[in-house]
């Protein structure tokens, strides 16, 4: 069993955990504000909200789950199922049109 040095990523660069936390909090506020205050067309609103959600999700995955600091192979493996989800939802949506 190979031993991996867990402390390797201790000194990683990038925003501190606390900064990420602040950004997440602010983004949440922005989301709620956008959803209720802004008088935007529906499609645009949905796109903005989804964009914000994906942004937040990425922050969590990249920094809190350390994906940014993992070997590239792991990174690719994790990305693999995402297209599948899009295919499923996308095609069934076309169907419901």
């Amino acid at each position: 069993m190979e031993s991996v040095n867990l402390t390797a990523d201790a000194g990683h660069k990038g925003p501190s955990y606390f900064l990420v936390f602040i950004i997440l909090g602010v983004l949440t506020l922005v989301e709620v504000a956008v959803a209720f205050i802004a008088a935007l067309p529906d499609t645009l609103l949905i796109l903005i909200l989804l964009g914000l959600a994906v942004w937040k999700a990425l922050l969590v995955a990249l920094y809190y789950m350390h994906l940014r600091f993992e070997p590239a192979k792991l990174w690719w493996m994790v990305m693999a199922p995402l297209p599948l989800g899009l295919i499923l939802v996308g095609i069934v949506l076309i169907e419901g049109w």
């Binding site: 909200l49 989804l50 995955a61 070997p71 994790v78 499923l88 949506l93």
Partner: protein, 219 residues
């Protein structure tokens, strides 16, 4: 095999034939999380499709669901994520006290989240927001009742948030276990895989909630 030297079971960590350079438990957790992605894709996908084809069953954001309350709850979960990652950072630095404190805080925040969700559920049910038309009569909500939307709204809402809640519950139980282990001094600066994979799971649950919050409450 008990008389084996460790060297005999050593595998190369780099070069041809080596693995991903990630220890088994962590790799296994990631692999497992991939299947979780597909599970939530099925639930969220069903929701999107049903909502898309039956807009009449659903209400505008904020009409039925209590967005401020849930936004606060989202914030609680985000806080629990930062405490979780802090716990990990503390043990990486070898700080047992920090580890214990942050783990316990994470578990508490998780419980708080569940509490708020339980409160939200009970209020919604009282208002007549239920997953099936069968319950309408019992709640005095026949046809055009108190709440907007049709049975699909409740069904998809409770299924998605309920299964997320179930994940949080499991997470809290594991967190409590990890906390106990931390108090028993199981983890060290060099040896804290347990904390790391706990963190992976917990952050994933947070991540799912971020998506759910937007899709279910805000859109």
């Amino acid at each position: 095999m008990s008389n084996t030297t460790a060297a005999a079971l050593e595998r190369p960590t780099t070069g041809p034939g080596s693995g991903f350079g990630v220890y088994n438990m962590k790799l296994g957790m990631w692999v497992f999380l991939l299947s979780e992605v597909m599970f939530f894709t099925a639930l969220i996908g069903a929701y999107i499709i049903l909502r898309f084809t039956n807009p009449g069953h659903f209400a505008e954001p904020g009409v039925v669901l209590n967005v401020p309350l849930t936004a606060a709850n989202t914030f609680i979960l985000i806080c629990s994520s930062v405490t979780m990652v802090k716990a990990f950072a503390e043990i990486e630095a070898g700080n047992q006290r920090g580890l214990r404190m942050y783990l316990a805080a994470t578990a508490l925040l998780g419980i708080l989240f569940l509490g708020v969700q339980a409160y939200e559920y009970s209020k919604l049910v009282h208002e007549g927001f239920v997953p099936a038309a069968e319950f309408y009569a019992a709640l005095g909500r026949d046809g055009a009742g108190a709440v907007e939307g049709g049975p699909l709204y409740g069904a998809t809402f409770y299924t998605m948030t309920g299964f997320h809640g179930a994940h949080v519950t499991i997470g809290v139980l594991c967190l409590l276990f990890t906390t106990v282990m931390a108090f028993r001094g199981r983890y060290t600066a060099a040896n804290h895989g347990g904390v790391e994979i706990m963190g992976l799971y917990w952050h994933f649950v947070d991540l799912v909630w971020i998506i759910l919050f937007t899709i279910v409450y805000l859109i």
